[in-house]
């Protein structure tokens, strides 16, 4: 598809409502925001914002990160990589640098999927490009942060992530918003390409606020023996978030894992799903979600596995915990099989904290509050597998930190 055709398609879809989630009035949010100058180092980033970065798992010193990318509102203010074999830059720069990149744009996600994809194409404000070269295996994570600091801003990013053959790429990405921002819209397109024998782990922390609307659109194309692992953590309120990342396991023995941990509080409205399309023979997927809903939060937790090839295996495990009578959780697991030699399954459970569990812990000396907190912690505690040790520890730390804040 030529650039002209892409734009045409986007124009057509400009007002196309999304299949899920409440409709967002895009025009309420401005693209005419201030531009920020690039920084020489992350240290130069204003002190007042650093906590918001930390809250999204971003290390402002860049220590123990293979590279860092920081976009403020609609400007890329920092982008640097420390290791050979990795590339990191704004998508805009990458498009100028590589002609071949057009083969990756809107290939995993149709540009006319809905008005949000269309709007990102028509009014793009950068995003990141991360690529690991063939055979390169950097276990230290690259960090990328999309940060909102201005009221009413519309952040339209298009991210492209490519792991070339037999390479390994670990990413921590944090989306954060400065606490003084009352309303903003984040539209984020992320297209992942996991080539033969490659592996991407993607740990994402969302740290939004009660006035932020969020519509990410993500898809992964995973080739033979490729592995994609996503860990998603959302602990803070958000006005409205809808996403349904989709992994296409196109290669033989391709693997996709989605783990989502959500603590929905306040007036948060979330429609969060993960989908795996198993097209390669022997491909596998696992979708695990833990959702806690309290206050007036409304959460739809979806999981969908579509088996289209022989010997594929997919499992969905969705657990919800209700902490308030005004909260709502809908758990919607779906399975679809188109042939007989495969194995798809799901388990879903939604409930409240069992009195018996609280009493058991109290019998070991905890107060009722302490017992409740131990149970909540345990509920959200999914063992993350597939991450390098240091990153797994780091992720655990980030998780503990964000939990600390809400409890």
């Amino acid at each position: 598809m030529s650039k002209k055709e892409i734009i045409e398609q986007a124009e057509h879809a400009k007002t196309k409502k999304a299949a899920l989630g409440e409709d967002v009035d895009i025009e309420k949010y401005t693209t005419g925001t201030k531009n920020y100058d690039a920084l020489n180092s992350l240290d130069e980033f204003p002190e007042e914002y650093k906590q918001s970065l930390l809250d999204a798992g971003i290390e402002p010193s860049g220590k123990e990160r293979a590279g860092s990318f920081l976009q403020r509102d609609r400007s890329v203010v920092f982008s640097k990589v420390k290791y050979k074999g990795l590339e990191l830059m704004s998508t805009t720069d990458a498009m100028a640098k590589y002609d071949w990149l057009e083969d990756y744009l809107w290939k995993a996600i149709p540009v006319d999927m809905d008005k949000y994809t269309a709007n990102v194409e028509l009014d793009q404000s950068h995003g990141y490009f991360i690529r690991s070269e063939a055979g390169s295996k950097v276990t230290m994570p690259v960090q990328a942060c999309l940060f909102i600091t201005s009221d009413k801003v519309r952040q339209n990013v298009h991210n492209i992530i490519i792991a070339e053959e037999n390479s390994e790429l670990h990413i921590i990405t944090g989306c954060s918003v400065y606490h003084a921002v009352n309303s903003a819209l984040h539209l984020g397109i992320s297209e992942f390409y996991v080539k033969k024998g490659a592996k991407i782990t993607f740990t994402m922390i969302h740290n939004w606020g009660g006035g932020i609307e969020v519509r990410p659109r993500s898809a992964m194309v995973i080739e033979d023996d490729g592995v994609f692992i996503s860990n998603y953590i959302l602990m803070t309120p958000v006005k409205s978030l809808q996403m349904y990342p989709t992994a296409y396991c196109v290669g033989r023995n391709a693997r996709a894992t989605f783990q989502s941990i959500v603590y929905a509080s306040g007036d948060t409205k979330i429609d969060l799903g993960s989908r795996a399309v198993l097209q390669g023979e022997g491909s596998r997927s696992e979708i695990i979600s833990r959702v806690i809903a309290t206050d007036n939060a409304k959460v739809v937790a979806r999981g969908d596995v579509i088996g289209e090839a022989e010997n594929v295996k997919g499992h969905i495990e969705c657990r919800g915990l209700m902490l308030s009578d005004n909260a709502e959780v809908d758990s919607i697991p779906e399975l679809k099989a188109t042939l007989k030699e495969l194995d798809l399954s799901h388990e879903a459970a939604v409930g409240k904290i069992a009195e018996e569990e609280i009493q058991y812990l109290m019998a070991r000396g905890l107060s009722e509050e302490e017992a409740t907190s131990v149970i909540i912690r345990g509920f959200l505690n999914v063992d993350i597998t597939g991450l390098p040790d240091a990153l797994a520890k780091e992720t655990k730390k980030m998780f503990d930190m964000s939990l600390e804040k809400v409890m």
């Binding site: 657990r319 058991y360 109290m362 070991r364 345990g378």
Partner: protein, 251 residues
């Protein structure tokens, strides 16, 4: 150490324990026999203060404090502990975490101390890392409960059928640890701790030396006596006959 007077307990609106009296002195270990469903577990839950077990009448005094209306964790702080017959599963909370909690430590790490305690009950590091009670076999549940008691080391321990489902190799091990936890290896005058053991089949009594035994029938203590005599009657002639023999009082 524990003094129960005229205790009546209701569960879900049903009276289960009726006018029950029981005294356990510091340094003593008592055994409670009784057929299934007679109210043994209910009594322990009421002593521990679980909210579903409502005290309708009477009082429970522990170490001189009237605990009848205290919440469970306050009773635990005063020094009581319980090994459960059917403890609940808690997802994401590891046995090792429970050991730390029982030790009164906030630490989340399963450290050397926890591992050492585990070893004493033939419990591996892998097992310490499993979600507590989730998919545990009957015997594993018991070892996990005793491990938590070992970690908590309460002055007064209640054991609800610590022997059911435990295999031969481990029952002796559990017996040894219970003896230690209840000061049974010390001279009688040096014993500081006390305990109450429920056993249905009495296996554990081959490994533990207790002092007195009671037979519970239909929510009351129907017979009380020296352990050996009561055990002998119960094992040889059954609960009902034992009660008949002791005429509703001592053997």
């Amino acid at each position: 150490m524990l003094e129960i007077k005229d205790l009546t307990v209701e569960v879900e609106g049903k009276e289960i324990i009726r006018d029950l009296n029981l005294n356990i002195e510091r340094g003593a270990v008592h055994v409670l026999f009784g057929p299934n469903g007679c109210g043994k577990t209910t009594l322990l839950m009421a002593i521990l203060g679980f909210p579903n077990y409502k005290v309708k009448k009477g009082s429970i005094t522990f170490r001189g404090v009237d605990i009848t209306d205290l919440p469970t964790n306050e009773r635990v702080k005063l020094g009581m502990g319980m090994s459960f017959q059917h403890p609940p599963e808690i997802r994401g909370v590891k046995l090792g975490d429970m050991v730390n909690i029982a030790r009164g430590r906030k630490e989340e790490k399963i450290d050397e101390d926890v591992i050492e305690l585990g070893k004493r009950l033939n419990i591996s590091v892998d097992f310490l890392n499993r979600d507590v009670n989730l998919g545990f076999s009957g015997g594993e549940v018991k070892r996990s409960e005793i491990l938590q008691m070992l970690a908590q080391s309460p002055e007064f321990i209640m054991l609800d059928e610590p022997d059911s489902g435990v295999d031969v190799e481990n029952i002796e091990l559990i017996g040894d640890i219970i003896n230690e936890l209840m000061d049974r290896n010390k001279m009688p005058s040096k014993r500081e701790r006390a305990g109450l053991i429920i056993t249905h089949l009495g296996f554990i009594l081959r490994y533990i030396n207790a002092d007195r035994a009671h037979v519970m029938l239909d929510g009351r203590i129907a017979c009380t006596g020296m352990l050996d005599e009561v055990t002998k009657h119960v094992m040889e002639e059954g609960f009902e006959r034992c009660v008949e023999l002791c005429g509703g009082k001592g053997v």
